[in-house]
Symmetry: C2
Subunit: 608 residues, 2 copies
């Protein structure tokens, strides 16, 4: 699921570096193709509740999904032509349907990114536990471990190009071809399939078939990826991208049909400890090295599919932050050029989903497809508006195609919502509006703050004001001298303050400090603040508040001289007073300027 946003990350200037149609297919189809690892199983899980009679509907439902796939591919060919700079749901909605629709698209994309990461990881781990059943009990921990690994790699900042995905995708296509053709030309399964299923709990009805269809639509997630990545193709970009989209549709459709036929032929039923794809692989190629290789390839491809969320979601978050719909920190990059906050938020939510579902993909699938299809629908609606505005020759037939696509995806969205409402879709119904409210709330806050700060307006000309610099000191030293020096360089007036606790030892120390001070004769008054409660910060804050209230000085500056620790050891020995004072002053006083003069010991040493 690469969207409009991922394109920006992999932009390259050299034409030869860009993708041909075949390279694009290998590089950009992994999201869509990897969903065959859980899509067909999602159909079976629903149908098996109606027993053998239900399972007979596997092929018709798969066929219906392929019809929908055809409509999507035709629609997205047109999206590619209309939005050559990348036409994700957010971009199309923003251009043609207004802010609110674009926020809904963004919210559903957010949900999708998170679910894509979770589903990719859980389905990948299921491919592994199917091959090594002894690991099955540790599924949740394996999922969280894999997610943590992917997160760490993304925080570390892997420089990635779409091309690194080519080899795993080609291997996966070859593996699926081996499974499908191996199965088709085999009279009996290579390994006996456990065709036992529980007694039917439901009758075959329209609702059940629709539900199976809705579940199976999870196999269509990712078909929008190519439309989002048009700028990555070689010229003529649009044509190449369109060819790729068609090829993706043909490949995905063939796999779905092929696997559907095999399921029917070998009477495969879903079991909790293994996957449908693993059973089909065993039946087609046998329980041998090839079988294990195919499971590992599936795992790698699904993990890479999960990884695309980490490429896309932080970039989308950064775009929203730039438009003031998310806190600006999502737009900041860390030293390693990673949108750290976006990566962490994605990992936290995906981890929560994995933990809550126990790493069971089929529990996550009901949530997944809803968001994807909301995005599909908004894209198609936006395209209808697009053709309506353009009115280029032949726009009517193009508008009709997108309208048909829009109606089909809209109907599918409704089927998803209704048939899977109690299985988790209700969560999406709560979360997407919730996210939209969040985006709008952030936007309102920034607007209010911008108005308060008169952002972009020309302020009155600046002028220098009378300033008083207050320097908290504790004894005479180079640090103190440096502080007073700096204060004198900065302020019109300077005053040093020292805190004296109410006990005899401290009072004596204060008297001797005052003597030393007078001896130094820095022409700066030293004010002693008494503290009954042995608190350092309270009397200083009180003093500052009094000064502030007196309104005598226009600029009140506190300069805290402190030793800059050059090691953890020095950090433990020092620096606490500065932090405590800083925090207390910030919390209690109004417009004090806080300066911290950090004096480096390692720099001092050679000078002396």
């Amino acid at each position: 699921m690469t969207t409009d946003t991922a394109a920006a990350g992999a932009r390259t200037d050299d034409e030869r570096e860009r993708l041909t149609a075949m390279q694009g297919l290998a590089a950009l189809s992994l999201d869509a193709l990897s969903s065959v690892a859980y899509g067909p199983e999602a159909i079976l899980v629903v149908l098996v509740t109606a027993g053998a009679a239900g399972l007979d509907y596997t092929l018709p439902v798969t066929a219906a999904i392929c019809v929908l796939l055809t409509a999507l591919v035709l629609s997205y060919r047109q999206v590619i032509a209309a939005f050559p700079s990348g036409g994700g749901a957010y971009a199309v909605s923003k251009a043609h349907l207004g802010t609110m629709a674009s926020l809904i698209a963004a919210a559903s994309l957010f949900v999708d990114y998170i679910l894509n990461a979770a589903v990719g990881v859980s389905a990948g781990i299921e491919a592994i536990t199917a091959a090594y059943p002894s690991l099955y009990g540790a599924s949740t921990w394996l999922c969280l471990g894999a997610l943590a690994l992917i997160t760490a790699l993304n925080l570390w900042g892997v420089s990635e190009s779409a091309k690194v995905f080519t080899v795993p995708t080609v291997l996966f296509i070859a593996a699926m071809a081996a499974v499908i053709f191996g199965g088709l030309f085999r009279g009996h399964p290579a390994v006996a399939v456990d065709t036992h299923f529980g007694s039917a709990t439901e009758a075959v009805g329209v609702l059940l078939v629709l539900k199976a269809f809705a579940s199976g639509c999870s196999a269509l997630t990712g078909v929008e990826a190519i439309a989002n990545a048009v700028p990555q193709f070689r010229k003529p970009r649009e044509r190449r991208a369109q060819h790729t989209e068609v090829w993706l549709g043909i490949l995905l459709g063939s796999m779905l049909i092929g696997l559907g036929i095999l399921i029917h032929k070998f009477h495969v039923v879903p079991h909790s400890a293994t996957t449908v794809l693993a059973q089909l692989t065993e039946a087609s190629v046998g329980h041998n090295l090839l079988y294990f290789a195919i499971q590992w390839i599936t795992f790698v491809l699904l993990a890479l599919a999960a990884n695309t969320s980490f490429g896309g979601m932080p970039v989308l978050a950064a775009l929203l932050a730039r438009d003031n719909f998310l806190p600006h920190m999502f737009g900041l990059r860390a030293d390693r050029q990673v949108h750290r906050y976006g990566v962490v938020v994605l990992a936290v939510f995906a981890g929560a989903l994995l933990a809550a579902s126990g790493g069971d993909t089929q529990k996550l699938v009901p949530l997944f497809a809803v968001g994807v299809f909301i995005g599909f629908t908004l894209s198609q609606l936006g395209m209808v508006r697009h053709w309506h505005q353009e009115q280029t020759p032949g726009y009517r037939s193009r508008m009709a195609i997108n309208a048909l696509g829009g109606i089909l995806t809209f109907c599918t969205t409704i089927i998803e919502l209704v048939s899977k409402f109690t299985e988790g879709a209700w969560l999406i119904v709560l979360i997407i509006p919730g996210l939209v409210f969040l985006f709008m709330g952030v936007h309102r806050s920034y607007a209010r703050i911008g108005a308060l700060l008169q952002l972009g307006q020309t302020p009155p000309p600046p002028q220098a004001q009378q300033s008083l610099v207050v320097v908290p000191v504790g004894g005479l030293s180079r640090l103190t001298a440096e502080g007073i020096n700096t204060a004198l360089s900065l302020g019109d007036e300077v005053v040093a303050v020292t805190v004296c606790f109410a006990d005899p030892d401290d009072t004596a120390a204060d008297v001797s400090f005052r003597d030393q001070w007078d001896q130094w004769h820095p022409d700066v008054p030293l004010i002693t603040l008494r503290s009954v409660h042995r608190s350092l910060s309270k009397p200083i804050v009180q003093y500052l508040c009094d000064l502030e209230r007196s309104d005598k000085y226009h600029r009140l500056v506190v300069l805290i001289p402190e030793v800059q620790p050059s090691s953890l050891w020095q950090y433990v020995l020092h620096n606490q007073r500065g932090v405590i004072l800083d925090r207390a002053i910030r919390r209690r006083t109004l417009n004090v300027v806080l300066c911290r003069l950090r004096y480096r010991l390692d720099q001092l040493a050679p000078r002396e």
Copy 2:
């Protein structure tokens, strides 16, 4: 275990608020008396390994411990006379044995405080699990929970007076009297005692008896508390304190002998799921309401004994911090007048001990007594030096008493170390020198830093220097205006810098910002720094480093204007840039003064 240090915390000016001898006994004996809850059991645990023949030595060992108790009481009577301001091991060693001995005393006190907290909690919870056996499995968690509660109360800052301890101590003395007299006047145990023990694994030998003696000495922890708290007594302080010390000795000795006789009479043997004291209580008063009440009283007293560590150790840490032997942060008090760092360090180590021992008191006892007896020995040695220097009339006999006490406690220390070396005492042998090294290391570091900073010396007279204030800005707003205003008030020269990322959108934004700036005409140059890697902080840090290297300005100041968040929501929306810049500048540049001008939105709103 209240030491010299606890006295400072509870100092009071009103004489009537101070303690009489009887009040002092009630208030200050709880540490010593509560140790009868685990001391006698510690003897039995060792002797039972030699079977019935071993158990016959219970009374002789108890008698030997009482002889040592007598010597300690006599010695401490003299400490009270010599150190009326409180004569803990640290104070006495510091006065008479030099820095090294005082640091050893401090280290052993640290270890004691931690073990006292751990043993108090674990023995207290054992009193509860003895009464409610179903809780036995959760011992460790109950211990950690109780420790967390005590820690939280201490962080919260309970204002405590020694007098609040009076009622529980009196109740505990009454309870022990009921157990001892009830048992003595009873022909047969009220409840049958389980006298079964495993087969003997060792023969009765000198080493075994010495080991039992060493273990039983844990019952003597706390007899130094009164000598530490002399200033809390009413006048004549020394006499009252001396009386109290004698009475403490008589009470503790009677309890130990009384319980020893009962153990012998009822043939009590240690069992893991219950305590020896609980078995004696059952045998003497029966399994009734009184039994449960006594267990609860024991628990409360032991919890209070653990709590005294939280009063003493942070104050000792603060004293050491004042003498530069610990980081100064241990001397800082939080807003609630608590030495927060000391409390947390104590809780962490006590918690680790409880977790490692699984809440089993008898695993902690071997570590406990060693530290206590090192303190005893150093106190007595210090007293010998004291009398030697003073040479007041009759000093020879006094010196002899302290010398005898010193020899006995020294021998006990050696017995403890040798006989319990493999059971945990080796840890103490590592930790106490380790702590002394730590103290000395901290002291050396402070001395080195003090020399570098020329602490206490009179620096050259201060003088104002040419200053340049650099203000990072991102756009025109009131915040920017305020920043430039402030910079003009502070610096001789002011320059504004803005960072421009290398993409078309940002370049366009930069051009329009520059136009606005020229329109504003603030008489401050605006410098655009280009950033290839979309990093905000790198180009600014680079610019500052260049300025610093050019050496043109004597005072380089960076002023970061930022919005001061007034709520968590605002905090999320803002303030990240300031933090990131602050951190980057602090890490990379040398002597830049960092000023953060925090602008309050809530204050802005009404003004406009």
